[in-house]
Amino acid sequence: MSLFIELESEKIQRFKGAEDTTLEDMREDELFALEKGYLEKGKRYYKIETEMNDHNLLQKALTHYGATVTEADEFHVVAVVGDIKMTFYKEESEPFRAFFEQQVDVVDAEQFVQSLITEYLDLVRQVTYEMLINRAQEEGLVLETEQRRDKKIALTFIVEE
């Protein structure tokens, strides 16, 4: 007898209604980030929504991708790749948005962000695996088997009575 459970990492957050984002919304986000001092005044930016909401993992993913992180806190991360500067900014309960200056090619920026998200998801899986292995015993779960296929990890635990 069994129960099937689907879960989603708390380090991931799907942007609600991202497809309905209007130009007004974009300008509002840009202004908010400007007010916070995350973006430079006098420059124009465009934004790309992401699913990432953990600033530590975002910084790691950026570093793995060859970017240099120049500023970072819980709500914003600034990084540089070559002569391209990117600013990631989030509000309390939302995932990060990436801001690029308007002269940066949109296709290149979107490809970079997509690759970054893939790297971020790899890190999420790795961190979750370590957390699970380290804490399973406390919950009476003993690892029986582990299989890795592609990027998926399948684990079977025996429940201690």
Binding site: M1, S2, L3, F4, I5, E6, L7, E8, S9, E10, K11, I12, E51, L121, D122, V124, R125, V127, T128, Y129, M131, L132, R135, A136, E139, L141, E144, D150, K151, K152, I153, A154, L155, T156, F157, I158, V159, E161
Partner: protein, 73 residues
């Protein structure tokens, strides 16, 4: 039957788990346990067909037993 929990860590930030050999509502406790262990929120859960079939058999067996008891009175 040995009780087991199978967990799959996906490549998209999603995780899938299945409890095996738990013949009562205790398997529901694992929703919370897994949320804690995986740092995740559950977005969907359902009993498997195997569980539902077993529950149905159990209910039928109870009903039959009650009928037989009533006949015997």
């Amino acid at each position: 039957m040995t009780k087991r929990v199978e967990i799959v860590l996906g490549d998209d930030g999603k995780f899938y788990a299945k409890t095996i050999g738990m013949d009562d509502e205790r398997c529901l406790d694992y929703v919370e346990v897994l949320e804690k262990l995986l740092g995740a929120r559950s977005i969907h859960s359902e009993y498997t067909e195997e569980y539902l079939r077993a529950r149905q058999k159990l209910t039928q067996r109870k009903q039959l037993q009650q009928k037989l008891e009533r006949k015997g009175e």
